[in-house]
Amino acid sequence: MDEPKVGVFLSEGGNQSSKVLDYDALASFAKNVAKVVLVERAKEFWRGDGLKAIVNAVKTKKLNRVVVAERLPKLSEVNIVKAVEKAGLNPFLVEVIDLEDHCARPHRNKPAEATAKAKAMLLAAIERAKLLEPLEKLEFPALKSILVIGGGIAGMQTAEDLAELGFEVQLVEKEPFLGGLASRAGRFFPTDDCAICIQAPSTDVKSITHTSRKCVYRSGFTEIQNLNVLTNSKITAVEGVPGNYRVTIEKKPRYVDEQKCIRCNLCAEVCPVEVPDDYNVKLKKRKAIYINIPEVYPPVYVIDEKACKFHECEKCVKVCPTKAVELDQKTEKKTLNVGAIVVATGFEEYDPSVIKEYHYGEYPDVVTNLQLARMIDCFGPTGGSIIRPSTREPAKRIVFVQCVGSRDRRWNPWCSSICCMISLKNAMLVKSADPETDVTICYIDIRTTGREHEYYYERARDMGIKFVKGRPTEIAHDPEDNTLIVDVEDAVSRKFLELEADLVVLATSMVPTQGTKELASMLGIELEQDGFFKEYNAKLRPTETKRKGIFLCGGATFPKDAPTSSLHAHSAALKAAKFLSTGKIVKDQKTAVIDDEYCGDCEFCPVTCPYGAISLVQKGEDHFVAQVSELQCEGCGICVGTCPLNAIELRHYRPSQMLAQMKALMSVNGTSKPLILAICCSECGHTAVDSSGMAMLEYPANVRVMKVPCTGILQIHQILEAFKAGAQGVMVVGCKTDGCHYEVGSPKAKKKVELAKMLLKEYGIEPERLEMFNLVYIEGDKFAEVAQTMTEKLEKMSPLQLSSS
């Protein structure tokens, strides 16, 4: 790298800055700093003539470092960096600081002090700039193919969107048939339309219009170009990096040739084995060779491995007119390379048999909402009639119990959000089929958020469905007359009721599907406490995960109704398409580097990295070193703060750069107060300082702000160095511990600060000189307040005397 030639550009900004700061003094100060070859002043530098002046100076003066003091740096930096890059300078050699919100405004009543602080800030920026190194723009190849896990309503819609956008899509479903939980729901609320009805693909030439809806089996879904459906399959391993994930899939044998089966049902007729039908929640039996309902995809029979007697029987083989049954099919293993993965594994009903007072599984007439939905479905086990499983007689008195296993700390504390509507829907379908049926819903709260939903509730009441506000304490069974008795206290009438019922329907909680945990660990993504997949950010990135190229949609993140699942699915498709659309992933080189020589393969950093960007690679016998994936590294520096051997550095925040900045900030005081170094994270910490300036709040000028990517980067010795550099106090300002933009940085910094305080005490330094504050952007007032109180606290102490200073 050439000798640094620094150009300093001072924007005099709005009235505030020019009234407070002495720009003549600042300019002459900057001119005298070593390696500064040019100082220019203008009203603004981030657009128009000012920007041209920077470009011109870079070209003519051969500047290789640019320091700009400009207002709203988070905005102006974008323009400046772009212009500088056009002028031929590496964009990472630019440093932009804010003399207005960080200096002129908060210290407007003390112009001399403000100017002194501005000098320190300028010097710090220049010293840091001198040590900056050029970084590259990195490009990684990305395959234009996508794996969708889960063939329910969400997965199918995502897959369809992506295939139609031209991506190669692999849709993997663990069951032998597509459709998922939603297809078993009979009808959907609030439209009461058929559950197996889906959007027909726009490529279906026979559709009357591309907006038509059709049953799954006639939608042409599987004939969409670029879409490959793998049923009866599961993911067993995921390796690789974003843009190129290598996925291993195990496809269980169907034992029936998909090309030959003509769905004649002769095989099921001769099959001698009967087992409970899981698709219909054990409400009926099915054969060992079966199809769920005639309307499913693929329309091919399948053999239940656990039930079939195979070669001992062979009746189906003999009867099949097309010789489609192949009892010797084996499990196939496939590996696929895909650029991105969409997880659409959905949710399932909680098994309420653990709630002993409701006797599910013991009394046959206690069923779940899904079982009732199967009965309502005319393709279901009862052909649409509502019966008591114990006697197969019509159920005339039905009691629904809401919140079974949900909103209950013994089981699942959350509200599953859709069960109220499901029960209302089922209750109304039952009631409209037979108005004589006596229907009661026992609830804690009826939650009908969503368009049309409250109207739905109103209609249920109009139809004569009864509502009892109370959670039943027990369901008893009178063996004499085979009646169920639901004990419930009605909180509205303040009476204990004993409701007699033929059928009790439990509105059970919704929980993550089985295997969610294993899948999450294979994919390297996190689960929420409730066991559902965790999105990157519920507000802004509801379909993304912390791992690039892995997306979520539908009930995999939380129970959702069908409309919301659709919304989520389309949104995930768009995000995945955006990620892969150019066929490459572009990112800058603001990444961590590891010094192999110092790395002691202690495994701290791979475990700590919130993005899974660090792995251990073998370097010789018994010797491993950590390696950073530049593709996955987000440049937060938490690994730097974790490494016990100082073997990791961030390219754009090297300890040498930070130290130079620290020393410069402490080099000029200009106030009579003790100097404080405020180390702020670039997210909420630094922006809280911005917002205090914007809000014209005042705090003393002895507080000097240094930006770091995340407070998690801090090492304890850096805090000690700050004191050595002349700070009388150190404030560490990070995001809220549960709102860290890099997940774990802020809580880690908090712990480190605690530890550093203990060390300070050991060294005979008051631990109160060091504090950590957790702020969000809007808490500018709090920043001003703690800066003030910290100063007052330090003023009461005698000055810190370190032997070296």
Binding site: K356, E357, H359, A476, E480
Partner: protein
């Protein structure tokens, strides 16, 4: 011969000698040797725990320490005593700090709680030491056509994690032991609900309404008698029927029998030896059905 220290408590010797006599005679017949220890005091009934836990545990631990000194496990008849002693025994075994504090109190009386003995209810003893099969063999008078409404009461079942008596939602122990005698244990509504007894003296009307519900449901289900484990439940449901008569003008005449009384009858013990006159509701109906 299996030996147990018998813990009688207060209510049984004072008010229900028929419970004691039937227990002593029937258990002896089944090979259970009941040892009376001197110096047993109040069990510290469960409500006391909510007033002062340490005091109540100390009282219970005092009784247990007597059994420890005699190297005997304890058996109780009253489920209230069972609950107090079993809670104390398990709680003090699990919680070393609590044990230390209680032992400090006990040291004033020269006692120490060690926690090396078990506290059992006699139903558990019948199940564990006698066994259903052995019990069936000893039955000489089958209660063939007797429909018994079993009533567990509260103290035997909860807190289930500490008492480990039976599944509190679906208990079977009592019913199995009734059926072992050849009788039929019937289902009736609200079988697992409170007898109402603990509300007596505070809200007599509600207590009586609850007890009445119990008796009415068992009657409706066709019970010949209702069988209890707890002397307090017995009192509430037996004597309570007189109050039901005066308050509601309803006459149920449903005999209430402790399980030991049914057991004694089925083991062939002469009813005359069982002090059945202590029952407020005559049990003649039951006797006529089984003889």
């Amino acid at each position: 011969m299996t030996r147990y220290a018998l813990f009688l408590g207060c209510t049984i010797p004072a008010r229900q000698p028929h419970y004691e006599v039937s227990a002593r005679k029937s258990l002896a017949k089944l090979g259970i040797d009941l040892v009376d220890l001197e110096g047993m005091t109040c069990c510290a009934p469960p409500p006391l725990q909510s007033i002062d836990l340490e005091t109540s545990l100390s009282m219970a631990a005092y009784n247990i320490s007597l059994a420890e000194e005699a190297d005997l496990d304890i058996v109780t008849l009253c489920t209230g005593c069972f609950e107090s002693l079993a809670i104390a025994n398990n709680l003090l075994r699990e919680n070393a700090k609590l044990k230390e504090r209680v032992n400090k109190i006990l040291s004033n009386a020269g006692k120490e709680f060690r926690g090396n003995k078990e506290v059992r209810h006699y139903l558990q003893v019948l199940m564990k030491d006698v066994g259903i099969d052995h019990l069936k063999k000893n039955v000489t008078r089958k209660l063939g056509n007797l429909k018994v409404a079993t009533f567990y009461g509260c103290h035997s079942l909860r807190p289930s994690a500490l008492l480990k008596f039976d599944d509190p939602e679906r208990p079977k122990l009592f019913d199995n032991l009734v059926e072992a005698l050849g009788a039929k244990s019937i289902w009736y509504r609200n079988k697992l609900k409170c007898c109402g007894g603990l509300l007596r003296g505070y809200a007599d009307d509600i207590a009586l309404a609850i007890a009445r519900d119990k008796i009415a449901m068992a009657t409706k289900a066709g019970a010949d008698c209702l069988s209890t484990l707890c002397p307090f439940c017995f009192l509430t449901l037996d004597l309570g029927q007189f109050l039901m008569k005066s308050t509601y003008h309803e006459e149920y005449n449903l005999p209430i029998l402790h399980y030991t009384e049914l057991l004694s009858l089925s083991l062939g013990i002469d009813p005359k030896e069982l002090a059945l006159d202590f029952h407020k509701i005559r049990v003649d109906k039951v006797l006529s059905k089984i003889s």
